[in-house]
Symmetry: D2
Subunit: 351 residues, 4 copies
């Protein structure tokens, strides 16, 4: 069985493990006050071209989302998110558990537009019962989105502009950021993201680290006492240097982007094979998650040797599923998946 169901099936990239081994017996202060975390912070600030950014390291994505959001909002404020957003669907109500409504906006492709933000904000602002409704104060986006799509520089700049006009914080969940920044049509970089967002994070867990997400806060208001909230939410790792070390490993020699690039290439190879066989897709994704729509009988047979994750039923005979590649995906596994897919499909068509 080869796993394509997610991008966190293995441990860590060997470069990262190596660094952890080498430093294992050193003594350092806890909770992120160590020199490795400092060094990682510097690397990140440099890549973001923002020397004033606050950088903090947390362990996982849900934890990061709930810490950032609960740190930023007052009790009556909500966060606007795409309906498919991770915080709306796959965090067991973590944000609500911190007291805040997630305001879900339906989208075509998992992405929010500046116009949608404006409309949502205005619908609240002009409502005669505005005090009886939650007040929007933050916009949550993911890049890439949960369905693999990415934001262009122009889209992000427009979002940012609108957020600033409306007094909304813009927060980007970058759990898979490497895969967005190395997609073929991408024109964003860390510096542009740091300029557009009030807070975002560079995801490690799904990009070759054992675990770890690096939160970058550029808005001064959001920096205040952020570490208290981390501690309160159980998000301050005792041996914090483990996070610093991993991000040094990811960023020092651009390993982060090499990993993204590799996974995307593997995904594009897979995508091409599905397209060639006449498959349609739930969404046109340029990144490491692909969502082909396949006949159920093909999925069943393919599933004997390759794991994927089930997305949704399309019709009585077809389902959309997700195939993920990652830093750890071997090209030979992609090749054999393609071969087996072709063999199973035979002369049939996907649709």
């Amino acid at each position: 069985m080869v796993r394509f169901n997610c991008d966190y099936a293995e441990g860590a990239h060997e470069e990262i493990l190596k660094l952890m081994m080498e430093t294992n017996m050193e003594q350092t202060p806890g909770y992120g006050a160590d020199p490795y975390s400092e060094q990682a912070r510097d690397l990140i600030r440099e890549r973001c071209r923002n020397q004033e950014a606050e950088v903090q390291f947390l362990v996982g994505g849900t934890q990061t989302n709930l810490t950032v959001i609960s740190s930023a909002l007052r009790p009556h404020q909500c966060v606007i998110a795409p309906e498919t957003g991770h915080i709306n669907v796959h965090e067991t109500g973590a944000i609500e558990s911190c007291g805040h409504k997630v305001w879900p906006i339906p989208t075509e492709d998992g992405k929010l537009t500046a116009k949608q933000i404006w409309d949502a904000w205005e619908s609240h602002a002009v409502n005669e019962s505005y005090e009886h409704m939650v007040q929007p104060k933050m916009v949550y986006i993911s890049n890439p989105t949960e369905i693999g799509t990415i934001y262009s520089r122009q889209e992000l700049e427009e979002l940012s502009k609108t957020c600033r006009e409306c007094g909304l914080y813009l927060f980007m969940d970058g759990a898979r950021l490497a895969y967005a920044l190395t997609a073929k049509e991408n024109d964003l970089d860390l510096a542009a993201i740091a300029q557009c967002c009030d807070v975002f994070y560079i995801g490690g867990t799904k990009v070759g680290a054992l675990f770890g997400e690096a939160v970058v806060i550029t808005n001064d208001t959001l920096k205040e006492d952020f570490r208290y909230i981390m501690k309160q939410k159980g998000a301050m790792l005792a041996k914090g240097r483990l996070l610093g070390i991993q991000f040094i490993g990811l960023l020092k020699n651009d390993l982060y982007f090499q990993i993204g690039d590799h996974a995307n290439k593997m995904a594009m190879k897979l995508k091409a094979a599905f397209q060639e066989a006449g498959c349609t897709f739930l969404v046109d994704s340029p990144t490491n998650q692909q969502f082909p729509i396949l006949p159920d009988w093909v999925l069943k047979e393919l599933g004997e040797n390759y794991s994927y994750s089930y997305q949704e039923r399309i019709d009585e005979e077809h389902s959309a599923v997700r195939f993920c590649t990652s830093w750890a995906t071997k090209e030979k596994d992609v090749d054999s998946l393609i071969q087996d897919f072709r063999r199973i499909l035979g002369k049939n068509r996907c649709v």
Copy 2:
């Protein structure tokens, strides 16, 4: 200016005020442990034909909703509600503030169906990531709904059956219950509601009381320690007898139902006048809230002497608005509203 914008523009029905005056200088224990509250509880249990029901009195609707829901759910559980439900729209995130997601289901008419509940529940139960999603545990409905529609006995029984099959609590918000139970096509009564629901409330604020909602809990699990939660949420009135006295006033001689009947008659008179003029409605409501779609220029002129509440824009020239009648609505005011409406409209049509 005559107010038709809501059903709580005046104080209280004179019968209720009279009772409050008569008992004013008596000394009683606080927090609902007084003989008046006991008497009101007995009256309610009797009407519900359920001698074991726990009855508690709270001050307002949002308070009641958040107290009931936070008392019933564990942290990872959510409440399913119609998208138009009061808890989803008009309570400033009160439920989320207690830690729980409101799972909104789109509806045609503000009402949930048994099938919608089943589908929602099943979509969670069969999902491979079920632990990553909130767990549905309660269904919230309003009767009448926020847009005036009502549940039939069959609809409620089916909802109840499905909820029990799925292990979901059924909770009815009865902020305007009198108006539902006295609608022409209604076939429900308090006893049937008590049998179908695990918990519901009989609203007083919008039906002639100064304030007050009577929560009726029939499910034993939900009875446990309910009063602790009331106190914690600031929902236990010190002079609790004021609530008992008001519900005695409302229920002793069926005043509650007379009030509902009066308001509905006034609303039907208004509805007929709008229909006669060719108006369409946002929804076909048999109760005290009417949602006609009217030309903006008519609304503007009408608004000089009659207040209504703005609902939503329909097209560039028409809006849906809400006219409410209540226990306090005078027939002469309805008549003059109708007359003025006809005069303003003249030979024009509504559409």
Copy 3:
């Protein structure tokens, strides 16, 4: 049975009821946007000599405390309170339910001193693990305290000065404020309180209203969006004018202070009688709550005709109890209590 166990055993002062009757059938906007609430706000601002103060009306004390505190604090911040403070003891964890720790400080007499605040604040500020501890941000005091004692002007000014130096909000719970401001040794008034506190409230429930607490916010930061939080916590009364009307009744002709004065006089009469009999007291209270320490056999016999509330066991044969007077206490009831007490005690002594 005559009740001395609390100060909210009756309904409302007749002046207040009269005003409610007179205005009952008027139509007004809801939620405190009515002219009566505006008039009451003006009266309060005038008494506080602060034209910029935000004044909002809530229904009860626990509700007010949780609304004010959760509106003011970020998630990692706590409120310092006397160990005997209402929020620490008698609100079923309402403050914690909003996410905040109550930091209890032991006191002799229910009052906090400037030095205690400074020490608490400093113990946090200098701690090397400060981020691992809750951050103090607000100080909660009651005047009179839960055990009847009152703050002098000098004490309050010192508290205020220290709070400002430490960046702490000062919040006064004035559930029984009338009884403090009319105590013999009192040298505070509403204007002084408004100057010293960032937020406080003028209690109505225990001073002759049916219910109602008037929150006065003088600190601009705390004014922002306060009404959203009220709505979210179920603390925005639909028929908000009922609150405005009651505070007009209380303040227009200084009824509030007459009520306080009357109750204190009744309490002093009772206190003198206990003292004369050689009683000691749990605390020396100059206000409407008296805490004599009495032999259990006396309490038992007295309890047959007069209710008091049990405070705590002192030794095997003595208990401290609470006798309250109020706006509604009749002098003849105090006299007969004293007479009966003397008769029961006979030649025995209290100690």
Copy 4:
């Protein structure tokens, strides 16, 4: 500089790192559904002699405490804890952030007694205002405590018996459990703890793991939906096998207990040296944390080469500090610390 300020200054024990390296490139399911986590669960169930226990792995201590407690309590319920308990002092209000009061009980030695629990419980149960107070439902203890003391089997059994009589859950924080179970006077083992407690955890972070705490739930009620709460609190590690692997490493060959034994021996050596020099201690600790009271001038000089953590001021010239040993403490470092201490002290005395 040699660090004795905490027991988590290094990475992980080499056995654990080795296992992580060996399994690094294997593909497994996420979130703890992998075979390594299963194997670790079996090992733990076996040591606990409880085949029905639910075992779940979390990342850190604060996270574990807040997840366990918020999973167990309803909104109005509180957890009783020693005043020095980690949840009361050093978690930035994590428990309150989940809505629950921590009820602190003063102790001599960081340990709660059965009598204290009974008294606390009874003081609530008999109070006439019981609904106005938080309801105790769980007891939190740490073993060893935050100040190094340990529970005997008899003490734990009595606590357990009382908790069951009162309907309270007993929860043991075992962040440093290895150090308790290998202390010289210890007579507890995992099986006894599993029998006495409703839920407890075996700490890894402070005992040689990179991170990780293994929660053992023996009470069926507390098992229900525990993983939902983990996910909601951000406590479900994506690459969950990392936790399973580490606990295999810790438990397979009793490494966990060897580590505990080593650290305790190092601590006893240090303790003896302090005692020999006439030092007194804040508390008599048989485990890896020692709290000597030392002259400030000695501390200053010692601090140039050895880090400790500051505990509290004793008098104008003395402070209590904490020296920790751990799995990673080298005997030669302890020896040189002792030597330097003796040299610095010279002919002076500690007191």
